[in-house]
């Protein structure tokens, strides 16, 4: 089996979906000849032609709105927004239209589309390239929000997202694009879009995360193991609909939970999970749910990026506090 990076897995999933289904089209800025600024769409134009791999004008509202029109007309568009900072402008079309078309027409029209965008900080880019907008998207009724954190999950979840009859916002952790490789079969098998991934089992504490932070969270779990603490690690991966059952079951076992996200703290998706745990798991909790997040400030330029984002150390500090709570 070939070893692939996360961005290669995205590429393989796109190619597979386009090969299997002639209604799948890819559109966005520089997705064609250039193969995407991160090369996620590399080779697709050569293989499937410029009509299905569409270099658009520089216009994110057009890209999103077009995708909606295409989807209503029976295509399965996969739109790329080049960087997360330029995805906020798409909220309007996603929320007011993509998410509502089926309900608005009582089932007459669906909107099977995917909006892909690279997210998260840590690659020392210019301003607006390091955003974590997942909480905003995850607040929108009528869409799915998916955020894989490994090549295999990226592949299986992207295939599922493209096949899904409803709109999916598919967030990709830029920092993990080339950080590591995994074996990947390219077997065309989609993953379920409503189930968390338990990456590591453990009885002492539950660590919940998604996106690039899963990486630091796993590192923290390894460090903890060396100290004899066994952490269960859950990758939420499908933020909406949220699979609280898996998280609740884990916390029922461990009694302690730390939620890790790269987004600024207030109103982050970590708060949603913590609120659900407090509501439905209060009696199983031995300690308050702790949220390890970025600060409530603007993502700084690269020189302070590391000081801004959570790291393994901050996760470990939260875990220690949580374990010490009595």
């Amino acid at each position: 089996m070939p070893q692939v990076t996360l961005v290669e897995a995205v590429n393989l999933a796109l190619a597979r979906a386009m090969a299997d289904d002639g209604t799948v089209v890819v559109l966005g800025e520089d997705v064609g000849t250039d193969g995407g600024v991160f090369r996620a769409t590399l080779g697709l134009r050569e293989r499937f032609g410029p009509e299905r791999v569409i270099d658009t004008p520089l216009a994110e509202q057009l890209i999103t709105g077009m995708a909606i029109g295409m989807a209503v007309e029976g295509l399965r568009p996969v739109a790329e927004i080049q960087f997360s900072g330029f995805a906020y402008i798409c909220i309007d079309q996603i929320l007011n239209h993509a998410a509502r078309m089926r309900h608005r027409t009582q089932g007459r029209m669906g909107c099977s589309m995917v909006l892909r965008t690279p997210c998260g900080a840590g690659i020392h880019p210019p301003e607006h390239h390091s955003e974590s907008p997942e909480a905003m998207f995850a607040h929108i009724p009528g869409i799915r929000v998916v955020y894989p954190s490994s090549p295999r999950r990226a592949y299986g979840l992207l295939l599922a997202s493209i096949q899904d009859p409803d709109p999916v916002v598919f967030l990709e952790p830029t920092r993990l694009y080339r950080l590591f490789k995994e074996d990947l079969a390219d077997d065309g098998k989609p993953f379920a879009l409503d189930t968390c991934f338990t990456l590591r089992e453990g009885a002492d504490i539950t660590l919940v995360s998604w996106g690039a932070m899963v990486h630091e969270t796993l590192q923290a779990a390894s460090r903890l193991e060396q100290q004899g603490v066994f952490a269960e690690v859950i990758d939420v991966a499908t933020l909406r609909p949220l699979d609280m059952d898996t998280i609740l079951a884990s916390v029922a076992k461990t009694g302690r939970c730390v939620v890790v996200t790269e987004a600024p703290r207030s109103g982050s998706f970590a708060s949603e999970i913590a609120a659900n745990l407090a509501e439905h798991g209060l009696l199983t909790l031995f300690a308050p749910v702790s949220r390890v997040t970025s600060y409530d400030v603007v993502v700084p330029l690269s020189r302070l990026e590391n000081a801004y984002m959570p790291d393994t150390e901050r996760i470990l500090t939260a875990v220690r506090k949580c374990l010490a709570f009595a």
Binding site: V25, E51, R52, I54, T56, P57, A59, Q61, L62, T64, G65, M66, A67, I68, G69, M70, A71, V72, E73, G74, L75, P77, D92, Q93, N96, H97, M101, R102, H103, R104, T105, Q106, G107, R108, M109, G110, P141, G142, P165, D166, D194, P241, L242, D243, M244
Partner: protein, 363 residues
């Protein structure tokens, strides 16, 4: 001086305000039966429109945006569309929807606050009402892209207002449609007002048709109170689109004879004189005069038509008022193609509450 671009904007009219032809009537409007049929649609639309206003005033309908004065635009444009084309509208295109086969009952349900009204039995490919101004222009581009990709000879027709022409999405859509030479008609009803904002405060552009120049596509102005002109201009655009020659922007100049919506009082911000003058140019009387002039229509036919329109509208109204209320489950059942389990509990809660409500225990 080196000139690298030269552009002209044409304006088209066939009937003057008295309904007399000012130039040779085009082929597309020479069949009197067709013209009479379109005239009937215009009268039916206005009758229905007036009924909707009456229902709103008596608390039997929600906020409603009258299409008074734009019947020639709606009917003229719809008249060049084929059944499997795709119409994208705002909230003021009741007449066009009627012509497309959306039923009065459906429209009453929609404006009465029930999503079932957008599940059109006919016109399955037409988009539902789009309230967020100009956002649907981008949908039209996507729909037209799909048509072109599949090699169909269909067109997407996107209708909006003068206010909409100031929105970024309007422009992004025109520009995109131009790049890919897509089969789209962008029809802008310039009714001189966007709620209280007059046309001259929307743009310093002397015509809205010239917005096409920015996108490198053809733009044309037409007298929007002249059914024959609207139909002819739309037909030319549709033929070009079907032939793979790309999009057209049509500015149809008209006047909003009504308040903006039933929630608005236009006398607060515009002159009675301006309104009175606009009534002189309105489209239905103009076409009637023309039809009477060429003797394909008579006063007695007119009377019969008015009566039959009233009857038809009344039947739809009765059906609407007798229609069962929506059930709370409706909020949940078409949100996703298959409802996620995470929503099941909330659905149950809402249904239980609905029963309580029905039993009269709670507000």
């Amino acid at each position: 001086m080196t000139i690298v671009g030269r552009f002209e904007i044409e304006s088209r009219q066939y009937l003057d305000v008295q309904g007399r032809s000012v130039q040779e009537i085009p082929e597309s409007a020479r069949d009197p039966r067709l013209l009479v049929a379109l005239y009937r649609q215009m009268v039916l639309a206005r009758t229905f429109d007036q009924k909707m206003l009456a229902l709103q005033r008596t608390g039997q309908l929600g906020t409603f945006a009258s299409g008074l004065g734009k019947e020639a635009i709606d009917i003229g444009v719809a008249s060049v569309m084929r059944e499997d084309d795709c119409l994208l509208i705002t909230y003021r295109e009741t007449a066009a929807q009627l012509a497309r086969g959306v039923s009065m009952l459906e429209m009453l349900l929609y404006w009465g606050g029930d999503e079932r009204g957008s599940n059109y039995a006919a016109a399955r490919k037409d988009f539902p009402v789009c309230i967020t101004i100009a956002s649907h222009c981008c949908h039209a581009v996507g729909a037209a892209y799909a048509m072109k990709l599949r090699g169909e000879s269909r067109v997407a027709v996107c209708m909006s207002g003068d206010g909409a022409s100031s929105k970024g999405e309007f422009y992004e859509a025109l520009n995109g449609a131009g790049v890919w030479k897509l089969p789209v008609l962008f029809v802008v009803t310039n009714n001189q007002w966007a709620i209280s904002v007059p046309r001259k405060l929307q743009s310093a552009a002397t015509t809205l048709a010239q917005k096409a120049i920015a996108a490198g596509i053809p733009g044309i102005q037409v007298d929007g109170n002249d059914l024959i002109a609207v139909r002819q201009v739309a037909l030319e655009a549709a033929e070009r689109a079907r032939a793979g020659q790309g999009p057209t922007l049509i500015e149809a100049v008209s006047y909003r004879l009504s308040d903006h919506t039933t929630a608005d009082d236009a006398s607060r911000y515009r002159d009675a004189d301006e309104l009175a003058a606009a009534w002189q140019r309105e489209p239905i009387g103009r076409l009637r005069n023309y039809l009477l002039g060429i003797q394909v229509w008579s006063r007695s036919e007119e009377e019969a038509l008015l009566k039959s329109c009233l009857d038809e509208v009344q039947r739809a109204t009765d059906a609407y008022l007798a229609h069962p209320s929506p059930a709370p489950a409706q909020m949940f059942d078409h949100l996703f193609a298959s409802p996620p389990t995470a929503l099941a509990a909330q659905r149950g809660q809402a249904l239980a509450r609905g029963q309580v409500d029905a039993a009269g225990h709670a507000g």
